[in-house]
Every structure is written in C-alpha cells, then in structure tokens.
Amino acid sequence: MTRGTLVYIVQRAVLIAFTVLVVSFGVFYVVHSLPGNAFISDRLHGRALQLLLHQYGLDQPIIIQYWNWLKGAIHGDLGISLVTRGAAVTPIVMQELSVSAMVGGAALVFTVGLGLLFGVLAAIRQNTWVDYLFTTFAVIGYSVPSFVIGSLGILVFAQWLNTVTSGAVYYPLPWQGTYGGGGISTLISISLPAISIGLYTSGQITRITRASMLEVTQQDYIRTARAKGLRARVITIRHALRNALVPVMSIMPSTVLGILTGVLVIENIYGIPGLGKEFVESIFTHDYNLTVGVFTIYTVLIGVANLAVDLLYAVVDPRIRY
C-alpha cells in the first residue's frame, strides 16, 4: 500500500466520521420531534408517563440527549431500547446486522455472479438466441422493482405452492435469519429475498458486461491472442474479462447502495429480522435509540462500502493511483 493510498484512506475515514455525525444528529432530531412516544398507551399516561420519560431522560433538551447518546456511541454503546425496556441497543443492532449482511451478501453474490455470467455469454454469443435470452432477462431485471419481484415470490412460493401442496411444500415465511436452523434450509430461505434484491442490479451488470466485452473483444490484443492460438476460454476469461470489468466496477458503488437500500425494503416484505425491518419498526414504535443506531450503522456501512469499491478500482485498473 502506497503512502498516497494511506492518506486517501485517512481522508475518506474523516469524511465518513463527519457524515455519520451529521446524519446521526439529523435523524436523532427528527425522530425525537415526531409526535408520540414509545411508552404511551391506554393505561400508561399522565404522571406515570411523565415519570417514565424523565427516567429515560426524554424530557431533557434534544441537544443534551444527543450529547449523552453520542458519548455512549463513541464507546460502542448505542443506548437502550425504549420498547424492550432497558435492553442494550448495540447487541440487538449487531445481531440484526449479521442477518442483513447474510441477505445482502447473498444478493451481491447473485447480482455479480449472474450479471457477469449472462453478460459474458451474451457477448460471446452475440446475435444468437443466447444473446437475445440474456438481453431480455437484463431488460426485465432492471425494469421491475425489487418489491414487485418480492411480492411475486411470496405469491408463487408462499401462496400458490402452499395451496397446491396442501402445506407439505411451502416457502417458510418469514425467513428467520440464522435462527431458522442454518444449513440448507437457510440457503433455500435466503435465495428468494436475495434474488428479489439482486435481479435489478444483475440486469444492469449483464448489460454493461455485454457491452464492455463486445468492445474489448474487438481490440487488437485480443486478435493477437487469437492469432497466437490461445484457447477461446483463456482469451475470454484471462484477457477480455479482466479489462471488461473496469466499467462494471464503476457501477459497483451504486450496486452496493442499491443492495443496502433493497435489503431495507425486502426485509419488510419477507419479514426478515434484519436491520431494514428494525429500522421501519423502530420508527413506528418510537424506539429512538434503535432508529438512530440502525441509521448510523447504515451510514457507516455505505461510507465503508464506497471506500472499499474505490480502493478496488486501483486493484482492477493499475492506471488508477491515489
């Protein structure tokens, strides 16, 4: 790693920290300003409610509350839940992060793997039925939003198949994350949400890979490689694909972002107990620390993912220096 790369990483880290600070305060301010709170109920109101708000420091000025929260957050303590009273938020968020990471990771593997494969196959079989098939897939993929794919998945696997097989074969909804026993059942469970999230971006990657491959395969060095008698597979994978990946890498930041935000939507459709679902639920239940904690984690993740992709550019394209 060069000195320039190190300086670049430090600069970006400072920027990420600043972004986290601004975003966390913004979210903190907004959620605390919403009408209602986590405690109020038909039974819990009046003096008992005021006392509880006081206990949790929720009657203090927002800036003081934020300062107290920030002091803890710096030490890895994101505060306590107001819904499950007194429960530490950090372990909850970390547990849910592992679930989201599993779904997001599967979606990323699906997106990149399928997109590259289809893109390459469409390019090397240009203007054949293979090309038309994968190009059509790509168009459908990026034309249909993830929540539509998700809802269709539920309709087919949870509703239709469940009815057809009288419950003997059904899609286990909602996916219980790592808690469902792990192994093959988790893999089966994870596939549908992962496909729902990844279909859109895999369509994009298919198109870009195809265009990029078509351009690269017209280059002189590929013709030279062919003239030297190299096998087609070696030319495609070792010589063409590597250079064709550069434009693909350029859309990776938006791909990762798309998956992170896609997880948020899909988790709520499939009832997956991850960060995205918690984020929405915590807003409705006014579990302030959870909302801010989840949002902060999202901000960090997006910042780090962007940085990682920027650093990967340099690995794929040696012309890029920091």
Partner: protein, 608 residues
C-alpha cells in the same frame, strides 16, 4: 431421448412420492391420543411481539403479563372462571373469616409458610411488604391498583422524580436504583417514607394492609396477574433494578427473573425467543407437568407460515401470550374447513370497542361538544345511524367480534347489562335522520366531520363501515382520519384532539370499577385518561359511593353509571372482541377465559 424422458418421469414420480409422504406425515395436530402423558413435556408456540417489560411494577401490556403470570405469583390468583382463590396467601380474606375488619379498612393476610421463590429463597412477609412498596414507588401504569392503601400518595411523593437515568442500568442514581437503595433500609425497619404507611407485617407470615377509605374493588385489583400485586425477590433485583427481568435464572444468581411461580426464565433473547422451565418441587399447586415452554418471537406477518407449522406439528398452539387476535378471518375459515376444525378455540375476550365523541374539550370539539340538547341529539343521531349487528357480521363475520349490545362492559364480565339492554345499541335510521334534521337542518354543523382511528387490524374496515353507514343513513359525509402511528393517535385521543374517535378498553380485572374509574369522570380526568372529556357531578358522586361499597351493593350503582353514559350518549357501542386460538388436540388443559390464557401449570402434553 427416450432415456431422458424416462428420467424425467422417474424424477417426477419420485418428487410426487416425497410430497405425498411429506403431506401424509405432516399432521401433528390431528393425531389421536391415548390419554397417556407424552415423554416430552415441552410446549412450543410463537408470539408476535418482543417483551416490553415483565417487571410486575412496570408491566403494561397483555402480551407481557400473559407470560409473566407464570413466573410471578400474587397473594391470590384468578382461577379459570375468574374466581379469586388463595395463592401465596392461605385464604381469600373476608369479613366472615376475619381477614377483613368489620369497617372494611384492614386486611389481615396469612401467608403460606411453604411459599418460596423459584431460586429457593424463602418467601416471607417482608418480601410482600417490599414488593407492594416497590410497585407503589415505581408509579407504573397499574400502581393505582394499590391506590386505596393508606400512605400511597405520600410514598409516591417520597419516591418522587429523581435524576434521569443517564448513567446506565443499575446505577444508584437511576429512579429504580434510588428506590432499591431506600427500600433496602426501610423494609427491614418496617417503615419509612418509601413504604406506604398502610402496609406492615405483624409477624413473618402475616401481612397487614390498611386502607385510607373503603374499597370494594381492591382485592380483585391486587389479584391482577403479572402486575403490581405480584411478589418479587428483593435480592434478585437490587444489583440490576432495570433489566433484572431479562436475565435467566442460574444457581445463586443475584440479578435475574425470580418469582414465586411454577416456572423460571431459562433463556432470553428479546428478538428471537425465550425458554421457561418448571421449578422442581414447586411449593404451589397444581404441580407443573410441562417441563419446558419454548416461545419464538416472530413478526406478525409470520402467522400464515406459523399456522402451517402448527398443522405440521412444529407448534403446539397459536394464540397464547396475548396473541389471540392475530389470526385473520380467512385463516380461521381455513382451519374450520380442515381436519383441524375441532382444534380451533373461539373465546370472547374482555375488550369493548366504541366510538367516542369529543364532549369535554372545547378547543378541539365539534358539534357533539357539551350537554346541550342539540349536542346530545346529534350524538344520538350518529349512534342510531349505525347498525351494530351489521358491523359484526360485515366486518368480523361474527367470528372476530360480536355486536356490543349489552353496554360497555363486555359480555361475561360483572357489570354486563344483558343482551340488547344498551339503548345505544339500537339501529334506527329513521329516528337518526329525524334527529339530524331537528338539530342540524342546514347540515352546517355536521359538515367537515372527521373520524379518527389508528390504522391496522379491524380498525380500517370498521372505519369504512361507519363512514358508509353515516353516509347512507344520515347523508353525512365523514372524512376518515387514519393514523399509522398508534402512539400519536393515543396521544391525540387522550388530549381530546378529535371530533369522533375509535376508542376501547381491555378490562384488567373483573370489576366494573376498572371501567368506570379509568374512562370517565373525575378520576379519569385527574389521570389524564378521560378521552371523551365526559364528567358530571352526579356521575362522580355515584362513582365515589360505588367504589367504596362491596360488589353486591356497588353493582346497582355502577348500573346507574351505565345509564348516565347512555342517557348522555357518550359513546357509540361497536363490538366485543373475540379471540381465536388453535390448540393441538394432544395439548390438555390449554385454553383461555375472558381475561387470560390458562396457566402453564394447568397444561400437559398427551402422547400423540
């Protein structure tokens, strides 16, 4: 090519076979029973909300108390018919057995000498003194169940409002920590500012309660399961007074969920699930047969999958833990139409839903405000325009609810007026129209009306039904004002920021006081809970008298209060809730009454 076809056919036949075998072998719930106990006494069911708190001093929600009632015992408990029976106390006090003094102000309660906490600690009078004092000091949502005890207000005032909890759970500066520190000194001494003066121990096994004034409802309120009357172990709370109830019991633990009930917390993950295990050689009765209770925390959207899992024998029941309202009508119908139909339990629950008018909040009120003839006439018009039976059949299909025709207090509870006895339950569109014409001939008063409600569940179809009824029978268009944020909705309703609003009450204990104190009149107003703002001197005077009398004498007075509410057209009765459970036939003793799920120590698993 032929080979490929054969392979395909073979695979298809194989798959069909697998599916058939799986389908045939999947029915866990419908199997036959021999009447013998199964070797594995483990009950497994899902719940659909993580716990808020199981701390009896602070518990609020039914989903919490339905579970914690099996860990914490009270001095008395409700049996399955809602009768009060002894638990930690040896008898139910009465004037005839000497447990209640002739003036009704002193209760002398003998404790069972065999009673123990489920970590083995002996349970003595000082523990009861501590538990009740703590509940008073914490000032939680059900603290008012102890409000008739002498010195209640003074103890709450002493507990006061200490510094906010910014230094983390367990710290002495927290509200709870401060209470623990004070009670640690004052309970052994038998008195102090944090101990209500009306509570004392005359000996280690005799608890004495002195009331400030007569109280006909106290015993019922003190018996409320999982709440302020439950007995907790000071030693298990002191080192972590905030999150002790989330911590599984381990040998010698000092901060863990210890109660005197038949079960103890064995593992806990608020987002995943919890396990409870039976206390070996438990002191009480009936002795638990189930050795373990496994509860999974699921999202409400999981119920369809869970129902399939129940049919396949993965779950033993669904609906326990305060979740009897989660099954949808199509799901209930699908169970009814299947071989599991006999395993569906439909049980009326103690919850009534009605429409409240804004009667007492002038700054936000509309045409229904106040006690003028016009306001009352318009309220009556809007009430008579709604067909309550039609609502129960259209919205609930007479499965998820019943029409509320017997007053606000739910059918099956003390204070229920009887079927079709509530004059407000009538449906008379002709009279409704005539009243509207009389009091709002130009339609100016009833223009731009809004009906506020929290979205979700039955509330949306009910709102649409009401809108249609008012349009059709009165020609008045009422705009629907749904709120996706229940907290904001309750906040607005409690502060009277509405014109017409969905309202309701789930009873806590089987006594009319639970309804009439908490919803209207001076007490509700003082507590900030008088949603309609209805309060008048006659109501208050009768309420005071009724609350002080024994039930037999109080009941006619409470009926008078019902009459006042209906004469003043304070509400539009809508429906009584009905719970639906699916319980596998091999689960013996499981069920529910109007109030709660039958205790786990009533349940056993038959071999199947």
């Amino acid at each position: 090519m032929r080979l490929s076809r054969m392979r395909i056919c073979g695979t298809a036949v194989g798959l069909l076979g697998v599916v058939t075998v799986a389908a045939c072998g999947s029915g866990g719930g419908g199997g036959s029973q021999s009447g013998q106990l199964a070797s594995q006494q483990v009950l497994h069911f899902p719940t659909y909300q993580p716990p808020g708190t199981w701390d009896p001093g602070e518990a609020d929600a039914e989903v919490d108390t339905e579970i914690s009632q099996n860990v914490f015992d009270n001095l008395w408990r409700f049996d399955n018919n809602l009768n009060i029976v002894p638990d930690i106390a040896t008898t139910v006090p009465s004037t005839s057995n000497g447990g209640i003094s002739s003036d009704g102000l002193t209760y002398t309660i003998k404790l069972n000498p065999n009673a123990k906490f489920n970590n083995g600690d002996a349970l003595k009078c000082s523990d009861v003194l501590y538990s009740w004092s703590r509940s008073v000091d914490l000032q939680g949502p059900y603290a008012s169940n102890l409000s008739a005890i002498a010195g209640y207000a003074a103890a709450q005032s002493a507990a006061g409002a200490p510094p906010a909890s910014s230094s983390g759970p367990g710290a002495a500066s927290t509200f709870q920590g401060n209470i623990e520190a004070q009670l640690a000194k004052q309970v052994p001494a038998g008195s102090g500012s944090f101990v209500p003066s009306g509570l004392s121990c005359s000996d280690p096994e005799t608890f004495v309660v002195k009331l400030a004034s007569g109280c006909g409802w106290c015993l019922t309120a003190w018996t409320l399961e999982g709440s302020t009357g439950a007995i907790v172990d000071e030693k298990a709370i002191q080192s972590d007074p905030v999150t002790w109830w989330q911590k599984p019991v381990t040998p010698g633990c000092t901060d863990c969920m210890v109660g005197a009930g038949a079960y103890y917390l064995a593992s806990y993950d608020s987002k995943v699930g919890f396990k409870f295990k039976s206390v070996s050689n438990w002191w009480g009765s009936p002795k638990p047969t189930l050795t373990e209770i496994d509860i999974d925390v699921h999202d409400p959207s999981a119920i369809a999958g869970d129902l399939t899992a129940w049919e396949q024998g993965h779950y033993d029941l669904i609906g326990y833990g305060g979740n009897s309202g989660n099954l949808t009508y199509p799901q209930i119908q699908s169970v009814k139409g299947s071989r599991f139909s006999s395993e569906l339990l439909t049980q009326p629950k103690g919850r009534t839903t009605w429409v409240s008018f804004n009667i007492g909040y002038p700054s936000t009120g509309g045409p229904f405000l106040g006690e003028s003839a016009a306001a009352k006439g318009l309220r009556m018009a809007f009430d008579l325009a709604v067909d309550k039976q039609g609502l129960a059949s259209t919205v609930c299909h007479n499965v998820q609810c019943q029409a509320a025709t017997g007053g606000l207090i739910t059918k099956g509870l003390i204070g229920y007026l009887g079927d079709n006895q509530d004059p407000l339950a009538k449906f008379d569109p002709t009279q409704a129209k005539s009243l509207l014409k009389q009091y709002d001939p130009n339609g100016t008063l009833t223009a731009n009306l809004k009906y506020s409600y929290n979205a979700g569940g039955l509330n949306d179809p009910v709102a649409a039904y009401l809108q249609n009824e008012w349009q059709q029978n009165l020609g008045v268009h009422v705009t629907l004002d749904p709120s996706s944020d229940a907290s904001a909705f309750i906040n607005n309703r409690l502060s009277g920021k509405y014109v017409m609003s969905r309202d309701g009450w789930q009873f806590d204990y089987n006594h009319p006081q639970d309804w009439f104190d908490n919803l209207w009149g001076y007490k509700a107003t003082a507590a900030g809970a008088n949603t309609s703002g209805f309060d008048d001197p006659t109501y208050d005077s009768i309420l005071k008298q009724a609350d002080a009398e024994p039930l037999s004498q109080a009941l006619p007075l409470y009926n008078q209060l019902s009459k006042i509410l209906s004469t003043d057209v304070v509400y539009i009765p809508l429906y009584y809730s009905v719970g639906n459970f699916v319980i596998a036939s091999y689960v013996k003793g499981a069920g529910s009454n109007t109030a709660f799920d039958y205790y786990w120590d009533n349940i056993s698993i038959l071999s199947h």
